[in-house]
């Protein structure tokens, strides 16, 4: 009987109607992946991070820009980077500011003149690879002596875009580094908006470690941000970019309070915490502790954890035989919600986007499949000819049921897989789902569709031909669209729009979902969210509504009942019905 099952499966799946529908669903899946992407990109909690350094050697004309892009969890992501290197005479800008402040020129004129002052030295658009862009080139045009240079960056990633306007003083300003007759423009940065980097100074080697370091000149630039993952993760990451033409490697220190005395080597050893080593370029340094101060505060009825504002100091230090290089500057701590982008994606996946949408609309194809397998040939009388083969009615019933069920399973798996691949490749996020999560995601869709399939199969034994189509479509509209509205109507009429309205609606929705084959998916999606992110990922009103109503045993019984009972009743009926047209 394997061959007829396979053949029925093949002719079910390869029907133009099914194939075209699946192609449309796949396209919708890609569209939904973009929708999910836009939801993530618009969420303020999710934004890309950048770290870069750039240097322009005015004597050789060599320009270098190295830029790294990260997602909120500091994993590299790709994007498009466009930059402009603009230089201008700072005195000219000051003069224009004065004219504008005194009201001698209007705003439009001021902007127009500002634009005229800015001289474009170089520009480019690059796509990152492995989250990294490296631009190295020799510039034909160089800034004039005494000019100020700024870097204007625009970065576009799947998680959002950010950038700076190309006008004087809105870009990131280079530090001029004079080394003999040579002037180098150096700039480092971490994060957006662009902030001026901290300077790395060159000092003389002190006679003894307690002697303050005497600064003798500029040696480079550095920028840093600490990302605090907090919570259960309890780790911080220091993103640090350094550039100095004089030193290759630095020791990195962090301190929570400003130094109370002049900086000496002894003072650094005594009061700063050694964090690691950093080389010229972009450094990601793991700090095995949460550096963010958190306090638990009692508010009426709830306890909340709040972040206490604080500033940290970052110090980089390098020593050579004849000099000491030290950079000191404040460092921002930014709290990171681990897995926020994954949470947003999975929340979307478990909503009416994606598999939910498939479960909502694919049943129309399910009922059509049964029309093809049973209802139509039965109305025509074509099953009688098939039954003249050495098979029983039970064989025929099981064969076609299995083939149709396999088409439903294959279609659901095809859609889910296409959709997940689209989501992962468009958002560039590794969802990090385990086998159980995938089983819940795929299983929910498959179980719901098979439950509806089972119900329609029963229906095909009670009616046939056009009657079947009419009744099954009515049933589909009832379960897919009307059923979901009923809890709102019932709660509104019985309780009104009072406090806890949504909880009551949700509770009734859960109860009614047990009596809706398509609704079974809701339970599986809820368990998926719980499994991946824990109870806290579920909105409070939903968690409250599910309490005592959504239980694994109830869900298991509902699943088995929906899958088996209609199919068995259909079988009992099929054994007796007339198959003559």
């Amino acid at each position: 009987m394997v061959n007829p099952v396979f053949y029925d499966f093949k002719r079910g799946l390869l029907r133009p109607t099914v194939l075209i529908s699946l192609a449309i669903f796949a396209l919708v899946g890609v569209g939904l992946a973009y929708l999910i992407l836009s939801v993530i990109a618009m969420n303020p909690a999710v934004r890309p991070e950048v770290a870069y350094y750039t240097v322009l050697d005015n004597s050789t004309g060599k320009f270098k820009l190295e830029l790294h892009i990260y997602n909120p969890e500091l994993n590299p992501i790709d994007g498009e980077v466009s930059y402009k290197l603009g230089c201008y005479d700072g005195k000219e800008v000051d003069r224009l500011d004065e004219l504008y402040t005194k009201g001698l020129i209007g705003h439009e004129e001021y902007l127009k003149r500002l634009a005229e002052i800015l001289e474009l030295i170089d520009e480019g658009v690059y796509k990152s690879s492995g989250g990294k862009v490296v631009v190295e080139k020799k510039l034909e045009r160089l800034p004039l002596q005494g000019y100020t240079c700024e870097l204007y960056l625009n970065i576009s990633t799947p998680l959002g875009s950010m950038g700076t306007i190309y006008t004087p003083r809105s870009g990131a300003g280079y530090i001029s580094l004079v080394l003999g007759n040579n002037t180098m423009y150096v700039l480092t940065g971490v994060g957006m908006p662009l902030r001026p980097p901290s300077k790395i100074m060159r000092g003389e080697v002190p006679g003894n470690p307690e002697e303050p370091i005497n600064i003798s000149g500029l040696a480079g630039a550095m920028s840093a941000t600490i990302y605090d993952f907090g919570g259960r993760v309890n780790r911080s990451v220091l993103l640090l970019t350094i550039y100095s033409p004089l030193v290759e490697e630095f020791e990195v220190y962090i301190r929570s309070t400003p130094p109370g005395a002049q900086l000496s080597l002894k003072f650094v050893e005594r009061y700063f915490n050694y964090t690691g080593r950093a080389r010229v370029g972009v450094n990601v340094i793991e700090v095995n502790a949460s550096l963010l101060k958190r306090e638990t505060r009692e508010l009426p009825g709830v306890r909340v954890e709040v972040i206490v504002p604080q500033s940290l100091l970052l110090l980089v230090l390098a020593r050579s035989e004849d000099a000491v290089y030290v950079g000191l500057g404040p460092v921002e701590i930014r709290p990171v919600q681990p897995g926020i982008s994954q949470l947003l994606v999975v929340q979307q996946l478990t909503s009416q986007i994606g598999p939910g949408l498939f479960t909502q609309f694919f049943p129309i194809l399910v009922l059509y499949l049964i029309y093809v397998y049973i209802a139509k040939p039965r109305a025509q009388g074509a099953l009688e000819f098939t039954l003249a083969r050495p098979i029983t009615r039970t064989d025929l019933y099981i064969t076609r049921f299995t083939a149709g069920a396999l088409v439903v399973i294959a279609s659901a798996m095809l859609f889910n897989t296409t959709f997940l691949i689209a989501v992962q490749s468009i958002t560039k996020l590794n969802l990090g789902l385990d086998v159980v999560a995938y089983a819940l995601m795929y299983g929910g869709v498959i179980v719901s569709l098979l439950a509806f399939y089972s119900l329609c199969y029963l229906l095909s034994t009670l009616t046939s031909g056009t009657k079947y189509i009419v009744v099954s479509v009515i049933l589909y509209i009832l379960y897919a669209f009307i059923w979901g509205m009923l809890p709102y109507i019932v709660v509104s009429l019985t309780r009104g729009f009072g406090l806890g309205y949504m909880t009551e609606v949700m509770k009734l929705s859960f109860i009614m979902a047990y009596f809706n084959p398509i609704g079974l998916n809701n339970f599986y999606q809820l368990y998926l969210l719980k499994h991946v992110f824990g109870e806290e990922a579920i909105p409070a009103f939903q968690a409250e509504a599910a309490r005592g109503v959504v239980e694994p045993w109830f869900v298991a019984i509902a699943t088995i009942t929906w899958l088996l009972v209609p199919a068995l009743l259909g079988w009992l009926r099929f054994k007796k019905i007339s198959l003559i047209a």
């Binding site: 009388g381 074509a382 000819f385 050495p390 098979i391 047209a581």
Partner: protein, 244 residues
């Protein structure tokens, strides 16, 4: 043995060609054939080559890849026949297969039935075209209003379906009837006409004998009775017996 097992075994031993074969017509002939062959445990390339062989044998070689919905009534019957031959069963049911067929189609099924008979296969052939049945059947079961009213071998029918010689003479008297009694069962209709049932010799011998004894033979008409007459006669007999 369970009912289902019996049913399966029976289906295995019987090939069925219905009067109006109804298929899942959106399928191609070869695909539907392969699908149905699967129920006989014949799969893949074996089923495909069997499909080509049988469909070609029954004149459907050009229609192998055509959808069944485009088939004429005759083609559908040939296709059903090809399907019934998948496992080459020893028995066949041709249920009113001749209905709706053109003369070629009728000839095709007639010859096929005769061929099956030669090969020792049993064919249950139902038809309203009794002239066709006459030429192919060994035994005929007559059904009237859903009831079997007769079950005869063709020899019995031939014997019972007697012929008669209608004679118009210049006179009919006892002497004439005495002459005729030697050759069959005479009965006088009037003073000039007589019927001789079950004549035992050729009509020319009977006419010669009558002329020899001085009887003028004005007209002689030989009446042959068909299977159809036999059937109607059976019906009449049933109706008469029912009346009594």
């Amino acid at each position: 043995m369970t009912r289902d097992k019996k049913r399966k075994r029976t289906s295995w031993r019987v090939g069925w060609v219905p009067e109006l074969p109804i298929f899942e017509t959106e399928l191609k002939a070869i695909d539907y054939f392969v699908y149905l062959a699967g129920y006989y445990g014949i799969t893949g390339s074996e089923a495909k080559s069997l499909a080509r062989e049988l469909l070609s044998r029954f004149g459907l070689e050009d229609a192998i890849n055509r959808k069944l919905s485009t088939f004429s009534q005759g083609m559908k019957k040939r296709f059903a026949l090809a399907v019934s031959m998948i496992n080459d069963p020893p028995n066949f049911i041709f249920d009113e297969v001749l209905n709706g067929l053109d003369p070629q189609g009728i000839a095709f099924f007639r010859e096929l039935t005769l061929e099956f008979r030669k090969r020792g296969k049993a064919v249950l052939f139902s038809s309203h075209i009794l002239s066709e049945v006459e030429g192919i059947a060994d035994r005929v079961v007559f059904i009237h209003k859903g009831r079997i009213i007769g079950n005869y071998s063709m020899d019995e029918i031939r014997h019972k379906a007697v012929s008669a010689l209608h004679l118009t003479l210049n006179r009919v008297d006892d002497a004439v009837l005495k002459v005729l009694e030697k050759y069959g069962e005479p009965s006088a209709l009037d003073s000039r006409r007589v019927i001789l049932r079950r004549p035992s010799v050729d009509s020319s011998i009977i006419i010669a004998e009558l002329v020899k004894v001085g009887v003028g033979v004005l007209e002689a008409k030989y009446e042959e009775r068909s299977l159809e007459d036999f059937f109607f006669n059976l019906i009449r007999e049933i109706e008469v017996s029912n009346r009594w």
